[in-house]
């Protein structure tokens, strides 16, 4: 069963010249539940735009996105927000933690939005899992970049998402910290059985997924299955 289905997706922006600027042209692909999937391409190729559309952060000019069977392009902004809360987890290049909340509170937010009880215990367990149990009451400004990204990882898994979107998760980290975070990401992903969609420049990181979609100039250049050795041995 496909957990993410993208059909003939096009995204254009109005431009000063008059003619709209099209950044994605008729992109289509489908993802099965539990897949790990990388979207790669040079800067300006449209990969982050594609991630935004797949995650329901933006609305396509034409085409459709089905996320866990829900057609996103027919929903209002608030309905898409609710879909994200129920089915999606996020990891961002610049972590996007709420600066006024402690690590624990940041991890609690997705669960609190769902109205779940006992979010503190779950969030604490997740922080323990990413090795930050003792930093639970620290604010993001008191954490290093790697620690912030680990809090972000804990938050992404807090609502037990069906799909996890990661946008350049190691883009702001040094190589050693990157390895730690990526290992943790794949480990948690495997444990939770989440479908992972990874946007990256890093071909080595992309090779750790099962499948890579190469985007250039807003179109799909190729959609290849990675060697199982790469995808599984390192995961």
């Amino acid at each position: 069963m496909s957990i993410l289905k993208v059909e003939n997706l096009t995204k254009s922006y109005p431009s000063a010249g008059g003619a709209p600027l099209t950044v994605l042209h008729g992109v289509s692909f489908e993802l099965a539940a539990g897949d790990t999937f990388a979207i790669v391409g040079p800067s300006g190729s449209g990969k982050t735009t594609l991630l935004g559309l797949c995650a329901g952060l933006d609305r396509a000019t034409s085409g459709s996105v089905w996320l866990n069977g829900i057609q996103l392009d027919t929903l209002s902004e608030d309905q898409r927000a609710a879909v994200r809360n129920q089915h999606v987890g996020f990891i961002f290049q610049n972590f996007q933690l709420l600066p006024t909340l402690t690590a624990l509170e940041n991890v609690q937010v997705p669960q609190e939005l769902r109205g779940e009880k006992g979010s503190a215990a779950t969030a604490q367990a997740l922080l323990e899992r990413v090795g930050l149990g003792k930093r639970a009451h620290h604010y993001p400004a008191q954490l290093s970049g790697g620690e912030q990204q680990r809090v972000s990882l804990a938050r992404a898994f807090a609502n037990r998402p069906a799909l996890l979107f990661a946008d350049e998760p190691t883009g702001n980290l040094d190589p050693d910290t990157s390895d730690t975070v990526v290992d943790l990401l794949f480990e948690l992903n495997r444990e939770a059985g989440t479908t992972l969609v990874l946007v990256t420049h890093d071909l080595e990181l992309a090779a750790r997924t099962q499948r890579t979609l190469r985007v250039r100039g807003g179109t799909v250049q190729d959609d290849v299955r990675n060697q199982p050795v790469n995808a599984q041995a390192r995961a």
Binding site: L57, I70, D78, Q79, V109, L113
Partner: protein
């Protein structure tokens, strides 16, 4: 296949309150400006309105002392001899006064000044405390043994009790100094200090002659419960013909009350304009605050918060701060209104009894909270339109081409607050109705679709 979820998650008011508190942790110092803007405006409003309420109450309580008698008749010419017997029959307790302006001289210190000379016969004042030092001087004055002189006048020339004062051709011993006369403010004593002369000695001054500008007054005291208005009703025509003005406790109460009501109303208007200016500061503070919070709002939207939930988090914050500012302002205002009678004491004809005016405090807190929320709402409304895509592209702006109906309503309310409320007296329970009257005066009848 999953069903599309409803537009809003299950998080309730508890979570919104918790998030409002959490989010306020940083930048509370900056929000002090917001609190200060509201607090200062409300302090002025509560202080002036409380003072106005206290003053009105004090005028009501001390109206009899303002007049010093139950009835005062006054005229710029001697009372008609045909009318005098009838006036004598009104009450056995009467006092007469002849008052005029004249230079007075203190021979020992060679001081000369224009003063108000009041020649009094009888027991005036019948009500209120005539504060004279030494106390025995009042009896000496009534016995015709000398004059009473305003303390201000004595101080100005370094004269003292026991000296003499010359009024026209008459030289009188100063038997006492007057610190306070019922119905007379400290300011009027300073501008036109008074020399009280025994009525029987006025003729000896030689100042009351044909053509002299003299004010003649007759004071009456009646038995308690006498309906003074009804008593003088039969005389109205004759009073008019003889150019005699009558002043009862009720009429003085009304006249003084109206004068100070107008004063406090004017001061309220000034305070209200200060509050509105404070609220403009509130709006600009919130506008800056919102700009700093865009990234956090985008993250919340990305994690699943609805536009309404995001807005409510910040609206709760501003309402909380508005309430805090209003409460601080009300406390400050209560303090200010305790100080005002001391500051303005010389201008006031009555001693203001300070008390907490709960209607003024309730109105102030309500106005502070309401205006803070109203003026914060317009910049806050933009939070609903923060696009979650900002988490990926910080520069992304939501499409704001479509008109925001809430913002339109908000503008209308701003306009209402800025134009209509200053025309009303924001005190006591009648404020909303006064506001409605203010609207009608300015804009005409309510539009059919926007009735109150």
């Amino acid at each position: 296949m999953h069903r599309a979820p409803t537009a809003e998650g299950a998080a309730g008011w508890g979570w919104l309150l918790r998030m409002a508190w959490r989010d306020s942790r940083r930048g509370r110092g900056r929000l002090l400006l917001f609190v200060a803007g509201v607090a200062l405006g409300i302090a002025a409003l509560v202080g002036i309105n409380s003072f106005g309420d206290n003053l009105a109450r004090s005028i009501n309580e001390q109206a009899r002392e303002l007049v010093g008698a139950d009835l005062v008749l006054s005229s710029s010419q001697p009372f008609d001899s045909a009318l005098v017997p009838a006036l004598r029959r009104l009450s056995p307790v009467q006092a007469q006064e002849r008052a005029f302006g004249s230079l007075v001289q203190f021979p020992r210190v060679q001081g000369v000044r224009l003063a108000q000379v009041r020649g009094i016969t009888g027991g005036f004042p019948y009500y209120g405390d005539w504060d004279v030092q030494p106390r025995a001087a009042v009896a000496a004055f009534r016995a015709g043994r000398g004059a009473l002189v305003d303390d201000v006048l004595l101080s100005q020339f370094g004269a003292r009790v026991g000296d003499s004062v010359r009024v026209g051709r008459l030289s009188l011993l100063i038997v006492g100094k007057v610190l306070h006369t019922p119905g007379q403010s400290g300011l009027s004593s300073a501008v036109a200090p008074t020399v009280f002369v025994p009525g029987a000695l006025v003729a000896a001054t030689g100042l009351v002659q044909r053509g002299s500008r003299v004010q003649y007054r007759q004071y009456f005291q009646f038995k308690a419960g006498t309906d003074v208005a009804a008593l003088i009703k039969p005389f109205e025509t004759r009073f008019d013909q003889a150019n005699i003005d009558s002043d009862t406790v009720a009429s003085r109460q009304q006249r003084t009350g109206r004068a100070f009501h107008d004063l406090t109303r004017y001061l309220s208007l000034v305070a209200f304009v200060a509050l509105l200016l404070g609220c403009v500061g509130v709006a600009s503070t919130v506008s800056l605050y919102v700009r700093e919070k865009l990234a956090a709002v985008a993250v919340l939207r990305c994690l699943g918060a609805s536009g309404r939930q995001a807005l409510l988090i910040y609206l709760i914050q501003t309402a909380g701060l508005g309430l805090l500012g209003a409460l601080i302002g009300a406390a400050l205002g209560a303090g200010v209104q305790a100080i005002l009678p001391r500051v303005l004491g010389d201008f006031l004809p009555v001693a203001v009894r300070v008390g907490v005016s709960w209607p003024a405090i309730a109105t102030g807190v309500g106005a502070g909270l309401g205006l803070a929320v109203l003026f914060a709402l317009l910049p806050l409304l933009s939070i609903r339109r923060v696009a979650p895509l900002r988490v990926l592209r910080a520069a992304f702006e939501a499409d704001t081409a479509a008109p925001d109906r809430c913002a339109g309503w908000c503008w209308a309310c701003w306009r209402w607050a800025s134009w209509v409320l200053p025309t009303c007296k924001p005190t006591s329970g009648s404020w909303p109705w006064a506001s409605a009257r203010g609207w009608r005066r300015r804009w005409g009848p309510w539009p059919a679709s926007a009735g109150p």
